[in-house]
C-alpha cells in the first residue's frame, strides 16, 4: 500500500467526544480506541488486550459502556462519546476519583481510567449497589495489581459520598 492508496482508504467520520464535535480522517475499520488516542490525543483511554477482555479501553458511547478496542470508528459515526477526560467536572466522577485515592483503588493505574468509567456507569444506573452488584458491574474490567478488594471499597465509598450530598 503506498501513500496515495492509503489516503483513498481513509474517510471522514464525525462524532461528539466529551461534548466537542470532532471530524477525523481515518481508516473506517480503525479501532475507536486508536482514533481517540492517536488522532484526538485522549490518552486517558488505555489499551490492555485489544480483544475486549480487560476493559482498560472502556468509554461511553451513547451512554453505553463499551470496549473501544472492539468498535470500528465508522460505527461511532454520529455517536456521543465520553472518555475519562470528559468527566473531569462531574460530581460523581470526583467522588470516585477521591475514593480510589483514599482506599488504594489505583496501583499501577493502567486499568484505572477504564475501571473508574465502569464504576461511574454502574453508579449512574444504580447509585447504591450492593457488593454483588459491584463485583458484577466491574467484572468486565481486569486489574492485576489490587485483587479488586480496594477497588470495590472505593466504589462503596463513592456511593456513600454520593448519598451524603
Amino acid at each position: 500500500m503506498n501513500a496515495s492508496s492509503e489516503q483513498r482508504a481513509k474517510c471522514e467520520i464525525s462524532f461528539t467526544v466529551n461534548e466537542e464535535s470532532e471530524t477525523v480522517h481515518a481508516y473506517p475499520m480503525e479501532r475507536l480506541l486508536d482514533v481517540l488516542r492517536h488522532e484526538l490525543g485522549l490518552t486517558g483511554t488505555k489499551e490492555g488486550c485489544g480483544e475486549g477482555e480487560c476493559g482498560s479501553c472502556s468509554v461511553l458511547v451513547d451512554g453505553l459502556l463499551v470496549n473501544s478496542c472492539l468498535i470500528p470508528v465508522l460505527q461511532a459515526s454520529g455517536a456521543k462519546i465520553v472518555t475519562i477526560e470528559g468527566l473531569v467536572s462531574d460530581g460523581r466522577m470526583q467522588f470516585l476519583q477521591q475514593s480510589f485515592l483514599d482506599c488504594g483503588g489505583a496501583q499501577c493505574g493502567i486499568c484505572t481510567p477504564g475501571m473508574i468509567l465502569a464504576a461511574h456507569h454502574l453508579l449512574s444506573k444504580k447509585p447504591q449497589p450492593n457488593l454483588e452488584e459491584i463485583r458484577e458491574g466491574l467484572s468486565g474490567n481486569l486489574c492485576r495489581c489490587t485483587g479488586y478488594a480496594q477497588i470495590i471499597e472505593s466504589v462503596e465509598k463513592a456511593a456513600r459520598l454520593g448519598v451524603a450530598t
Partner: protein
C-alpha cells in the same frame, strides 16, 4: 559537584535501630538524638497518605510510554523465528510491499556485541545464523504508518535447516540434544547441612513425593513498550515501561559500544510489572534503539497482548522432589530436596531465580540435616524469567504440600506437624543462618487458625462432606520470604541514593527505584519526610532517568522499602547535617525553617545533593562457594489459611474465605501494604486454579486474555489481611520487604484445602476442573488403584 556530600550508611545502630532495640526491651521508645522530630509530632510513616502519583492515575493524566509521541516518530515491529530450533538459510521479502518504505534492521546493524547483557551474554539481541526458540527476534522493521507493519512482518519468510528441539525438563536432562553449553544446565547449586546420609536407616518414616508447578504469565495490564531516539552527538535515549533503568542502560552500552554518559534510560509510568519488566525491556529497548539509529528518527515499539504473552518471560516451570526422614512423633530429621526449573533457551536470570527457590525450599522449618540440589536447565522455549516470588512460590508450593503429606503419613494434623518443626529463634536455616529475631511461628499459626475459625470449620466440613455434591475443605501454608538480594548480592550492588534540596526548598529523592503500582514513590517520600521531621508535601521524587538519578539498584526482590528506604533515610539526614554544619539551620526547626534553609543554601552554593551508599551490615556474612551463611538481611513470615468448596458437578473450585496473616516488620503505609498482600494473594489464586500456559512446539498457544484466564472481581473471595509488626533492624523505620511474600502461600494453602475437601492429593498446579475430574475418575475406577489401596476400600 559543589554542595554535594557523600554519606555512608552507618554500620552501627543509628537512630531507628536504637529506637527499635528499646522497643524490644519493653522500654518506652524515646526519640533520642533527633531534634527535628520534636518539631512535628505526627509521624507520616505508618499512615496512609495519598499515593504520590495517584491524582494523575485516577484522572487519566499519568503518562505511560504509549501515551508519548515524538515528532517524526516511526513505529517498529519484530520478525520472529516461528520454529523452536534451526539454522537460518535465507530470508525472503514477499512482493506486493514497497520494502523501500521500511527501515529494516538485521544483526549486521549492531555496532557492539550482539547480546542482551545480563548475567551472561548468551542471549542474542537478534538471532544470527541459528535460532533456539520460536519467539526469537530475527529482523526489525519500522514504518511511519503502524497499520502497515503487521502485514509486512507476515511478508518476511525464513527458510531453515531445522534442528531437533527439546521441550521438557526430562528431555533436557536426558541430553539427547545439547542445546546449551555442554550439558543443558545453566546453573546448579548444592546446599548441605548436617549429615543427611546418616539418618535414613533409623528414621521411623521416609516420605517421598514429587511436585510440579506450571509457567505463569505476569499479565500486567500495560503491555511492554519502548521509544528510542538516537543523536550522533548526544547518543541514545530510551523511554519505556520498565523496572530496572540501569539493567537497560548496561545492555545498551554493550550492544552499541557506547560509554555510560551517551546512553540515557528514562522510566515512564509503568502499568504493572511483577517481575515481567525486569529483564525483557532491555531487549525491546535494544530493538527500538537499533531502528532509531538506522532511521535517524525516533522509533516506538509497543507489543500487542499476544506478542507480549508469547514472546516475553513467564514464571519458570518447576519440579521438586522431596525425600524426608521423619520421627514417629512428626519431627523432621533429614531431607533431600531436588529442585529443578526450566529456564528456556537462554540463561538470562535463571541462576538467581534458582538460588532463591533453592534457599526457600526448606521454608520456615528447622532441618537438622538437609541436602538441596538445585538446577536450572535449558529447553527450546522463550527464556523464563522474573515473576513475583522468583523461584520461592515454586519450591514453597512443593514444601507446603509435602508438609501435609508428612502429617498424613505420621498421623498428625497439618497444624501439629508444622508446629513441631517450626524454626525458632537461635536455630539455623538450611544455609546455616541463625534466626536472630523474636519470631514465634507457633503464635502466628494460632492467630491465623483463630482468625479463620479453622478448627471449628474443619470439623463441620468433615461432617457435611459426607453427603451432597459440594465438598468443603480448609488448608494452611506457613512460609517465609527473604527480603533484598540473596547473600552478597546487596554488597555487589552497592546501591547509591541521593536526596536533593531544590531551589524552592523542597526535597527531591533521586533513585533508580521505580514505581509500577507498589507504592515506591509514596513510601520513599514518607521515609524522607519523617527522617527530617518534614511534611509529606515537602518531599518529591525524581522521574527515574539515568542522567539524573544514581543507581539505587533494580526494583526487584522486595528490596526497595527495606534497602533503598534505609539509604533514603541516610541521604536525607545528610541534607540536614550539611545545613546545620553551615550554620543555616538550628538544631531545632520547623518544616518552614528547613525549607528556608534549603533555599538559602541553594541560592548561595548552587546544586545541593547528598548521597548514601549501601554497606553490608557486619552480621550478614555469606559464602558464595559453599552457599552458606546469611542468605537474607531479613525474612518476612506468614501463615495463610484457605477455605474452599469443590463443586462435584462442575469440578470447579471456589475459594470462599482467605486469611493472610504476616509479620513484615513495620507497616509503613497500611493501605499500600494491604494492597500488596491482597494483590499478591489474587495472583497466587490464579497460579493455583486458573492460569495455565498451553505449550505447543515451545510456543505459548493461548497468548490471549480470552483463553489464559486470570481472576476477575467476580472470582475472588474476601481476602482478609492481618499484620504483625516485630520490626527489623536492617530496614527503614523497621520495615521488611513484602512485595513477593503473598505470592508464596496461596497455592499450597488452596491445594491443601482441596485435598482436605476431597481426600485426594494433588501434586501439580495449575489445578483446573478437568484435572480434578481426571483424578476423581481415576479413583472411582478400582482397577486403576494399587492392590493395597483396593484392599483398603
Amino acid at each position: 559537584m559543589h554542595g554535594s556530600r557523600f554519606f555512608r550508611l552507618s554500620r552501627t545502630a543509628n537512630f531507628s535501630t536504637v529506637c527499635h532495640t528499646l522497643m524490644q526491651a519493653g522500654k518506652p521508645c524515646k526519640r533520642l538524638d533527633d531534634s527535628a522530630i520534636r518539631m512535628k509530632n505526627t509521624p507520616i510513616v505508618g499512615t496512609s497518605v495519598p499515593r504520590m502519583e495517584g491524582r494523575d492515575k485516577v484522572t487519566g493524566h499519568a503518562r505511560y510510554v504509549d501515551d508519548m509521541v515524538l515528532p517524526g516518530m516511526l513505529y517498529g515491529a519484530t520478525v520472529r523465528s516461528g520454529i523452536p530450533r534451526g539454522k537460518i538459510k535465507m530470508f525472503t521479502f514477499a512482493p506486493g510491499i514497497d520494502w523501500n518504505e521500511f527501515v529494516i534492521v538485521s544483526p549486521r546493524d549492531i555496532p557492539g556485541k550482539n547480546c542482551i547483557a545480563l548475567i551472561e551474554d548468551d542471549q542474542p539481541c537478534l538471532a544470527d545464523g541459528i535460532v533456539n526458540h520460536p519467539e526469537e527476534p530475527l529482523l526489525l522493521l519500522a514504518h511511519a504508518d503502524r497499520h502497515l507493519l503487521p502485514k509486512a512482518v507476515e511478508a518476511v519468510s525464513v527458510e531453515y535447516d531445522p534442528l531437533p528441539a527439546i521441550f521438557t525438563m526430562e528431555e533436557s536432562e536426558a541430553q539427547s540434544q545439547i542445546i546449551w553449553g555442554t550439558d543443558n544446565i545453566f546453573k546448579s547449586y548444592l546446599i548441605e547441612k548436617g549429615d543427611v546420609d546418616a539418618v535414613w536407616q533409623n528414621a521411623d518414616h521416609i516420605v517421598e513425593a514429587e511436585y510440579t508447578t506450571g509457567a505463569q504469565e505476569q499479565l500486567y495490564i500495560e503491555n511492554n513498550g519502548m521509544i528510542a531516539a538516537f543523536d550522533p552527538q548526544q547518543g541514545l535515549t530510551v523511554w519505556g515501561s520498565l523496572q530496572c533503568p540501569y539493567y537497560v542502560h548496561k545492555a545498551l552500552m554493550k550492544l552499541f559500544a557506547l560509554p555510560a554518559d551517551r546512553v540515557r534510560v528514562v522510566q515512564m509510568e509503568t502499568g504493572g510489572a511483577f517481575g515481567g519488566k525486569e529483564e525483557y525491556p532491555s531487549m525491546i529497548a535494544a530493538h527500538a534503539a537499533l531502528l532509531a539509529m538506522k532511521s535517524g528518527k525516533p522509533v516506538k515499539i509497543i507489543y500487542d497482548r499476544m506478542e507480549d504473552m508469547t514472546a516475553t518471560t513467564k514464571r519458570h516451570p518447576s519440579r521438586t522432589r522431596h525425600r524426608t526422614a521423619v520421627s514417629k512423633d512428626g519431627r523432621i530429621l533429614a531431607g533431600e530436596i531436588d529442585f529443578t526449573i526450566d529456564g528456556g533457551a537462554y540463561k538470562t536470570l535463571s541462576p538467581v531465580v534458582l538460588s532463591r527457590g533453592a534457599i526457600h525450599a526448606g521454608g520456615s522449618y528447622y532441618w537438622p540435616s538437609i541436602r538441596i540440589r538445585a538446577k536450572a536447565i535449558a529447553t527450546n522455549t522463550p527464556p523464563h524469567g522474573a515473576f513475583r516470588g522468583f523461584g520461592a512460590p515454586q519450591s514453597l508450593f512443593a514444601l507446603e504440600r509435602h508438609m501435609d503429606r508428612i502429617a498424613q503419613v505420621v498421623g498428625l494434623s497439618p497444624v501439629e506437624v508444622r508446629r513441631r518443626n517450626f524454626l525458632k529463634p537461635g536455630q539455623t536455616t538450611t544455609t546455616g543462618q541463625t534466626v536472630n529475631e523474636a519470631i514465634d511461628l507457633g503464635k502466628l499459626l494460632d492467630r491465623a487458625l483463630e482468625l479463620s475459625d479453622y478448627h471449628a470449620k474443619k470439623e463441620k466440613f468433615a461432617k457435611e462432606n459426607q453427603q451432597g455434591s459440594h465438598k468443603k475443605g480448609m488448608g494452611i501454608a506457613a512460609f517465609l520470604h527473604g527480603a533484598g538480594f540473596t547473600g552478597s548480592g546487596e554488597r555487589f550492588l552497592g546501591s547509591v541514593v541521593g536526596v536533593e534540596a531544590c531551589a524552592d526548598g523542597s526535597l527531591r529523592i533521586l533513585v533508580s527505584s521505580t514505581e509500577f503500582g507498589q507504592g515506591t514513590n509514596t513510601v520513599l517520600c514518607q521515609i524522607a519526610a519523617d527522617a527530617l521531621g518534614l511534611r509529606y508535601e515537602d518531599v518529591g521524587i525524581a522521574q527515574p532517568d539515568t542522567h539524573e538519578v544514581p543507581n539505587s539498584g533494580p526494583t526487584v526482590a522486595s528490596r526497595t522499602v527495606m534497602v533503598v528506604g534505609k539509604l533514603v533515610q541516610s541521604a536525607a539526614l545528610g541534607i540536614r547535617k550539611t545545613l546545620t554544619a553551615s550554620g543555616m539551620l538550628e538544631e531545632s526547626y520547623s518544616p518552614e525553617e528547613f525549607r528556608a534553609a534549603c533555599r538559602a543554601y541553594v541560592a548561595e552554593h548552587g546544586k545541593f545533593r547528598t548521597f548514601a551508599q549501601y554497606e553490608q551490615p557486619e552480621d550478614i556474612v555469606w559464602d558464595e562457594e559453599k552457599y552458606r551463611g546469611s542468605a537474607y538481611a531479613a525474612f518476612a513470615w506468614a501463615v495463610y489459611v484457605a477455605e474452599v468448596t469443590v463443586d462435584l458437578t462442575t469440578y470447579n473450585v471456589t475459594v470462599d474465605d482467605f486469611v493472610a496473616l504476616q509479620e513484615i516488620g513495620k507497616v509503613l503505609h497500611p493501605v499500600l501494604a494491604k494492597g500488596q498482600i491482597i494483590g499478591g494473594v489474587a495472583q497466587g489464586i490464579g497460579f493455583a486454579l486458573y492460569e495455565k500456559v498451553i505449550w505447543g512446539q515451545g510456543r505459548m498457544q493461548n497468548g490471549q486474555m480470552t483463553n489464559y484466564i486470570m481472576p476477575t472481581s467476580a472470582d475472588l473471595p474476601p481476602i482478609r489481611v492481618y499484620f504483625e509488626e516485630l520490626g527489623n533492624v536492617h530496614g527503614a523505620f523497621g520495615a521488611k520487604g513484602i512485595g513477593e511474600l503473598p505470592m508464596d502461600g496461596p497455592a499450597p494453602a488452596i491445594v491443601n484445602a482441596i485435598e482436605n475437601a476431597l481426600n485426594v492429593p494433588f501434586h501439580s498446579i495449575p489445578l483446573l476442573p478437568e484435572d480434578i475430574f481426571a483424578a476423581l475418575s481415576e479413583r472411582a475406577a478400582p482397577e486403576a488403584l494399587a492392590p493395597s489401596a483396593r484392599g483398603d476400600r
